[in-house]
């Protein structure tokens, strides 16, 4: 488990203690960042409102009255059968029947049969290989040795490891600002076919000095079914910029987020992290500029108008004006309008009908008669792409489908 994951687990444990009103062990509080976060969490817990005593007792009385009325109706509807069942003879008959029923259910549940042992999680590590290809782009047809074997401890009826996972970059060293091609290979190591959702998986670029993510690719929306032994490979292109659009330098490694499978979390641990270095200095710029595109789509009585699309080495910016949903409420304040709830919009995108990726949620500027939404997509347009498909899927909880096919010139 990465250091960041340990920090998050430690934070959650300590937060639960704060909410339970327990004292924290100062030696187990981690760094200053965690301490200040926990102090802030304590402040939130102190500000939480409580229902008034008057309201609580009034509601309880009302509910218990309704419960009494329910019980009385049930008793009434019992009728003659209820009167008969109160007789001791019938009570004895029913008791015997219940005992027989319980015993038969217990027997069918196999309590008295030998138990089947459940597999324990195993993890083996192998060396990570990062192929040093002469070109900047990775070779998509080669498959390096997997860097780790993962096991699903609680997957029902599928013993042994589920997936073998490998991740690598095209090169081991890059220049600052250079596009970095990343590949992730997932192989079904189980004896049964697996249907995996939300692919490609969440991938984070981690800095070795801070062991924190500088950039994270959100999970995709694809579902794939892998036969035993079948593998699937995903490609990511990282533009070398962090969450704030600043170029990253230094040593980095790749980390994959757990995958959900049948309600269990399947860890996608890489036994040995896939390291790569980004050296200071700049790479060349790729295409940049605004695309002349203005289209409006309407669904669920909400209209979305794309007003600007900008493509640059830093990523893609999509701006749109969205008309107010039915529950839109704003109040004027200093510096603009404030909404009663969050109306961020979710969207996905793809190039030339390729992998669908999550564009994330928009930032919003509220106006009296609508909203201005902006999506910052830190992704670059693959060379040769002819079309960007941008799909808004929800606006402030209002589901819909607003689809835009943007020609790329």
């Amino acid at each position: 488990m990465s250091k960041q994951r340990n920090i998050e687990n430690l934070f959650s444990e300590n937060l639960d203690r704060v909410l339970a009103g327990k004292e924290l062990d100062p030696s187990a509080l981690g760094d200053a960042e965690m301490r200040s976060s926990l102090e802030f969490a304590r402040r939130i817990s102190q500000l939480r409102p409580l229902p008034s005593a008057q309201y609580s007792s009034r509601l309880k009385a009302t509910l218990l009255q309704k419960l009494d009325a329910q019980e009385a109706r049930t008793k009434e509807n019992g009728g003659w059968s209820w009167n008969i069942l109160r007789q001791p003879v019938w009570q004895a008959v029913i008791a015997v029947f219940v005992v027989i029923l319980v015993l038969s259910l217990v027997w069918r549940a196999g309590v008295f049969r030998p138990s089947i042992s459940t597999p324990s999680p195993t993890m083996s590590t192998t060396a990570t290989t990062v192929p040093s290809a002469p070109s900047a782009t990775p070779a998509p047809t080669t498959a390096p040795a997997p860097s780790a074997t993962t096991a699903a401890p609680s997957a029902k009826g599928v013993p042994g490891p589920l997936l073998t996972v490998g991740a690598w970059t095209g090169k081991s060293t890059y220049k600052s600002g250079e596009k970095i091609g990343i590949n992730v290979l997932m192989e079904n190591s189980s004896p049964q076919k697996l249907t995996l959702e939300k692919l490609p998986p969440i991938l984070s670029i981690m800095k070795t000095d801070t062991e924190t993510p500088v950039y994270t690719f959100a999970a995709g929306k694809e579902t794939r079914t892998l036969a035993p032994g079948e593998s699937v490979q995903f490609s990511y292109t990282w533009n070398g910029l962090d969450f704030k659009g600043i170029k990253v330098t230094g040593r980095c490694y790749l980390e994959l987020e757990d995958l959900d499978y049948q309600g269990s979390a399947v860890p996608l641990h890489l036994g040995q992290p896939a390291y790569f270095d980004i050296l200071p200095g700049s790479a060349g710029n790729s295409q940049a500029g605004d695309i002349n595109y203005h289209e409006t789509q309407t669904d669920n009585n909400i209209s979305v108008t794309i007003t600007r699309i900008n493509i640059s080495p830093a990523g893609i910016i999509v701006e749109a004006f969205i008309t107010p949903p039915p529950d839109y409420v704003v109040t004027p304040g200093s510096g603009g309008y404030f909404a009663a709830k969050d109306y961020s919009a979710s969207a996905s995108y793809s190039f030339d009908s390729g992998w669908v990726k999550d564009a994330g949620e928009s930032t919003v500027t509220y106006l009296r008669d609508g909203m201005e939404h902006t999506w910052y997509i830190p992704d670059t347009v693959p060379s040769g792409s002819k079309e960007l498909f941008f799909h808004v899927t929800s606006i402030g909880g209002w589901q819909g489908s607003w689809q835009f096919h943007v020609p790329l010139e």
Partner: protein, 186 residues
């Protein structure tokens, strides 16, 4: 369920008392959590009370048919609460201006008037900061601080992994802290 109904018919008076006792205990345990959870989602105190009442009335009608095989109690009641809040926002037809003077009262606990005013303002600002989080972050914050659920329980309600809950929670708290801190420093 068959066994339950058969047992009910054997001694319904005793069971009847037990049902009321069981529901009372359930109510006492979950009322503050449900109310707090809804308080994170709405600004109006009376609306929070109405929605809380609606949640418990729904729970009452389904109380006897609840089965722990399907879901833990916390998952069950908070699924009802979430759906109630979602239904409310969808059903709201016309604009309702937020009345700031009807906003939530923070706990009294023997505080001075000045302290209460400060905390009331802090609570309003905190709600504004929360509204600027992503919807999934808002939901997790509401469930964590409202219901005091563990990450695993929250994951069960939302249908995501508990490691995801931990990641989102830590990041959301830090963002809230920074956003709230900017307001304090103004």
């Amino acid at each position: 369920m068959l066994i339950f109904h058969v047992l009910m018919s054997l001694n319904i008076e005793k069971i009847g008392k037990s049902t009321a006792e069981a529901f009372s205990a359930f109510y006492e345990q979950y009322l503050p959590k449900i109310f707090r959870y809804i308080s994170f989602k709405v600004t109006d105190k009376f609306l929070a009370e109405d929605l809380t009442s609606a949640v418990f009335e729904k729970a009452l009608t389904k109380f006897k048919s609840y089965s722990s095989e399907k879901a833990a109690v916390s998952t069950w009641i908070f699924t009802i609460a979430r759906n109630t809040v979602i239904d409310h926002f969808r059903a709201r037809s016309k604009e309702q201006t937020v009345q700031l003077d009807e906003s939530m009262d923070v706990p009294e606990n023997g505080k001075s008037i000045e302290q209460k005013v400060i905390e009331k303002e802090e609570w309003q600002v905190l709600k504004q900061c929360i509204s600027r989080l992503a919807p999934n972050e808002q939901e997790i914050i509401s469930l964590k601080f409202g219901s005091e659920m563990t990450n695993r329980q929250i994951a069960g309600v939302l249908g995501i992994s508990d490691s995801n809950v931990g990641v989102i929670l830590y990041r959301a708290i830090r963002r809230l802290r920074d956003d709230f801190g900017r307001w304090q420093n103004e």
